[in-house]
């Protein structure tokens, strides 16, 4: 075949003609026509002959083989726990996304600082929010509020909060570089982690009994909260404040974002022990495609190794990464600083929280990254977002000193029950100060 020599490196899709079976295709095209024409003079022997001919034409050059022994299927229990069960598939109808918040709560004295992480929603359905020197708890079941702690001016304000997975213990990062652990059921300070960071602790995340903290001093520490010498390992690589930290659901990889515009992927097993602090190049990937501070980070719950990250005011991009290879899979310019990112666990969607000039929440379809909805309401930049334990509702706290609750991620049956329970008189009337 002479056309074999033609250049095949064009970027258009060119069908591979040598892989097509033109004879068979021709037979299928003309054979069908013949059948229609000769419908009147149908004979079984002719039909049989044609069928036989079809088989020979299709199969005469190739034999398709497969192993008799099939590969073992993956064990059912270890399959991705976040993928929805198959019976939810027919529920693909369009859902209504409310454009206004379900509730608006006052959040006075919230520190309007991009680099802090002041909001978290626990598995026991309690929202923790840091307002100035205090941390308040808001119970999403009954709407009750209580003050968990209040620190003095010389060690405050509170710069980060993070619930442990059991929804009982809260880690609180402080401006004076300490981290406090609180038992929220008995409202008791359990211990204070100190001696690691030299400046404020702006980001926290848990990985079982390991509390990972990122500070303004650009270091990241893994603290084992059970032992006396709590710093078990260190990640060095950032040169400025570490404002974003998140472990992936398997706990094997940590993503960290900094004010130095860098995004690092670290592996749990590769953390350097604190004694040998001279080795610093321990990251799995150093990703430098953002052009501004990287605070917004979110691991995809339904696709392993997929991380979404958002850049600050000078970058304004959401980027999607394959953390296995370090490849940037997609980048979308949002036109506004990206302060926070959350994946929807019920649908293939990503929610981003923004700053100037609309201060909106934007819902994106994945993987097409088409905008599905924009939620307006905040009058200053969205500082942090958190997702309810049922995955249906989102809380956002903004520089306008309000905390707003949005039912943006759809309602599962369980989620509906929770919302109905919450209905109170005037609860749908926004209360803006």
């Amino acid at each position: 075949m002479p056309r074999r020599n033609s250049c095949e490196n064009l970027d258009r899709f060119i069908p591979n003609r040598s892989a097509m079976d033109f004879d068979f295709a021709h037979y299928m095209l003309t054979g069908g026509k013949v059948e229609k024409e000769t419908l009147g003079t149908y004979s079984p022997s002719k039909h049989l002959y044609r069928k036989h001919l079809a088989e020979i034409l299709n199969m005469n050059r190739t034999r398709i083989l497969a192993f008799k022994n099939k590969p073992p299927p993956a064990a059912n229990t270890t399959h991705d726990p976040f993928s929805p069960p198959p019976q939810t598939q027919p529920a693909k109808r369009r859902r209504h996304i409310s454009q206004s918040p379900d509730r608006t709560l006052d959040a006075p004295e919230v520190v309007d600082d991009f680099y802090l992480n002041l909001l978290d929603w626990s598995s026991s359905n309690v929202i923790a929010v840091a307002l100035g020197n205090s941390v308040y708890l808001w119970n999403a079941f009954d709407g009750s509020t209580c003050e968990l702690l209040s620190v003095d001016d010389d060690i405050g304000p509170v710069t980060s909060v993070k619930w442990a997975a059991d929804g009982k213990y809260l880690a609180v990062g402080l401006n004076n570089s300490h981290v406090q652990l609180w038992d929220t059921s008995s409202i008791r300070l359990l211990r204070t982690l100190q001696g690691g960071h030299r400046l404020r602790v702006s980001s926290l995340d848990w990985n079982n009994h390991i509390l990972t903290s990122g500070g303004m001093d650009s270091t990241i520490f893994n603290n084992d909260v059970r032992v006396r010498a709590h710093i078990v390992s260190t990640y060095r690589g950032h040169t400025q404040e570490v404002c974003g930290l998140q472990w992936c659901s398997s706990g094997q990889q940590l993503a960290s974002g900094g004010n130095d515009n860098l995004l690092h992927i670290w592996s749990l097993s590769m953390a350097s022990s604190s004694s040998s602090s001279n080795s610093s190049n321990q990251w799995l990937h150093r990703l430098d495609r953002h052009t501004s501070a990287v605070k917004a980070l979110s691991w995809c719950p339904f696709q392993r190794n997929l991380l979404a990250s958002g850049g600050g005011i000078g970058d304004q991009c959401i980027k999607l990464w394959n953390t296995n290879t370090g490849a940037c899979l997609n980048s979308v310019n949002t036109g506004s600083q990206v302060c926070s990112l959350l994946w929807n666990t019920n649908e293939r969607e990503l929610l981003s929280g923004h700053g100037f000039n609309d201060n909106q929440l934007t819902l994106w379809k994945y993987p097409s990254m088409v905008r599905i909805a924009e939620l307006h309401g905040h009058t200053s930049r969205v500082l942090s977002m958190a997702k309810s334990p049922d995955g249906c509702n989102v809380a956002s706290v903004a520089g306008d000193e309000t905390l707003r609750l949005w039912s943006v991620f759809g309602t599962t049956q369980i989620g509906k029950a929770v919302i109905e329970k919450k209905q109170e008189p005037f609860s749908n009337v926004p209360r803006v100060r």
Partner: protein, 207 residues
């Protein structure tokens, strides 16, 4: 390829078959990992083709793939393998979601006369690397696999090829009206491998 004798990179039929069958092994592992057919924990990281690659540690899958690659290299040396297809289907339903299609063109002259060709290892590795990168990034456009899946491998051989004891003839497990994406190809100058993934159309309507 009029290179001087000092820089000659000779490739034989046997060497080419080894490269191609090894490629299938790594490609199959990469697909199984990236598409989540087996759990993440059952894979271990190795360095290959200048990339971090993942290999299954599940004994069953491991032996399946090693049996496969050894049979493939046998066929490749005889020039009888036309195509290899990795099929991903639903565990319960058996519905075919994806077909990873590797078609192979063999240089008949090499098989008949036992001559060799010239191409550097490095160049082949670079071509394979490009395919591996494409496989890893395929998760951005392939629809999510919503249910537990299993895989199977089909080998398209010449008709005159004897069926080995451990193999049976199979149907092609085609997808109706599939979406197709052609990936890079690589060429050892003896075997040319074209990669194409076809998958079930996702019926999602864009808002």
């Amino acid at each position: 390829m009029a290179s001087k004798s000092a820089t000659k990179d000779i490739i034989t039929l046997r060497g080419s078959a080894a490269i191609v069958s090894e490629f299938f092994g790594y490609a199959a592992n990469s697909i199984l990992y990236n598409r989540g057919v087996y759990p993440e924990e059952s894979f271990a990281r190795v360095k290959k083709y200048g990339l971090p690659m993942l290999l299954t540690q599940d004994e069953g899958v491991k032996s399946f793939i090693s049996n496969l690659t050894s049979q493939l290299s046998e066929w490749l040396e005889e020039g009888k393998l036309q195509r290899m297809v990795l099929v991903i289907m639903g565990k319960q339903t058996g519905e075919v979601f994806e077909r990873w299609n590797f078609s192979i063109e063999t240089d008949g002259e090499v098989v008949e006369k036992g001559i060799s060709r010239e191409k550097s290892d490095k160049e082949i590795m670079r071509e394979i690397q490009a395919i591996m990168r494409q496989i890893a990034s395929s998760i951005t456009y392939l629809p999510c696999l919503e249910e537990p899946c299993v895989f199977d491998v089909l080998a398209y051989t010449d008709k005159d090829c004897a069926v080995p004891f451990t193999w049976i003839e199979s149907d092609p497990k085609l997808i109706d009206n599939p979406q197709m994406v052609k990936l890079h190809s690589f060429d050892t100058k003896i075997h040319k491998v074209d990669t194409l993934v076809s998958y079930k159309n996702d019926e999602w309507d864009e808002p």
